[in-house]
Assembly symmetry: C2
Homo-oligomer: 223 residues x 2
Amino acid sequence: MHRVRVRVVEDALDANNTIARANRDDFDRAGVTVVNLMSAPGAGKTTVLERALAGLEDVHAGVLEGDVQGSMDADRLASLHIPVTQLNTGNGFGGECHLDANMVRSALPSLPLEDIDLLVIENVGNLVCPAEFRVGEDVRVMVSSVTEGEDKPLKYPLMFRTAELVLVNKIDLLEHLDFDLEHFLHHLDAVNPGVPRMLMSARTGEGVEAFTAWLRQRVKIPA
Amino acid sequence: MHRVRVRVVEDALDANNTIARANRDDFDRAGVTVVNLMSAPGAGKTTVLERALAGLEDVHAGVLEGDVQGSMDADRLASLHIPVTQLNTGNGFGGECHLDANMVRSALPSLPLEDIDLLVIENVGNLVCPAEFRVGEDVRVMVSSVTEGEDKPLKYPLMFRTAELVLVNKIDLLEHLDFDLEHFLHHLDAVNPGVPRMLMSARTGEGVEAFTAWLRQRVKIPA
């Protein structure tokens, strides 16, 4: 007698995970470390990247830039003389509020994977849905600006919970804000206990070298 | 011979609009003016509301508070001694990144519509999807913080395009930022020419009285 095999129909998110694993396999084969960089709009992802990659000239880096519309950030990063690919999620209406694995897969042919060791995927600015969709990344990094308030880890818990590194940005503004850093870090530890965090100001450059060193370590290029 | 009537199957967004119109009808019957208040995470919606509603004691106001999780903002607003209803979009996973008409409809039984003249619906912090879903509002107001950068209207055009009033918040920080206000307003006019805008700092209170007066005018209560 044959054994009955039950196959559960995959839902949309399973489909996303299937494609994310395929992306990851392609990245692994090419020896590329992939960082999924996420934040709210205006938290400073692009400025952080500009600063961090400028100090990472010994690593062959590339960027996949996700935006609803336009290529302003990609244009900024292209001045670093690294390969930058723009991915727009706009579809004629409001556009998608996040990157998913299939969008990233559609961009693979335009990415010079054989020539780079590090790919940073700058996600659409949003603290909700980007956290729900793996895109094939090795690691998730999020940027949280101190201008956004101390309550954000409690209000957007999945994003803060799935981040493996939290960059606390715009600390040059701390003295001008009613922002209690201890309070914020307490909330962060409540949703993601002990997650590595780095305080920085991408605008002044303060603290960015720690992230540059972290990226270098991730791609396993000797410092 | 009978005339053939072609009926196009409604898509998901048409369903949303159908429910939004039903909400609007209910609000109109109760004589309630409804504001859909939107912004990126941490732009200051709740602080703007705290300040503006504190100056609007002659109007019977209520708030419907949308968040992925928690009731921190609702708790803050409840101290104004006005009716506040919390609507959470979290569903066990990452949660919904916006309010839609059906979520608002589900909250109607808990809203004291007969007792209020103004209902502010504070949407989930997000510059993409909230703009795609009408919830039955009379008017859309968005808050844009100067800490988010000058490029936001170009990167999230639907949100800025569908706003009928833009509150430019946190102007007390302008002197500490590399933010060119003229540049921002130029981008704003590029996507929504001439849209009314008010500069303010909800933290210091500067400029908030203009929004309070605008709200009073909207509910047609004599000043």
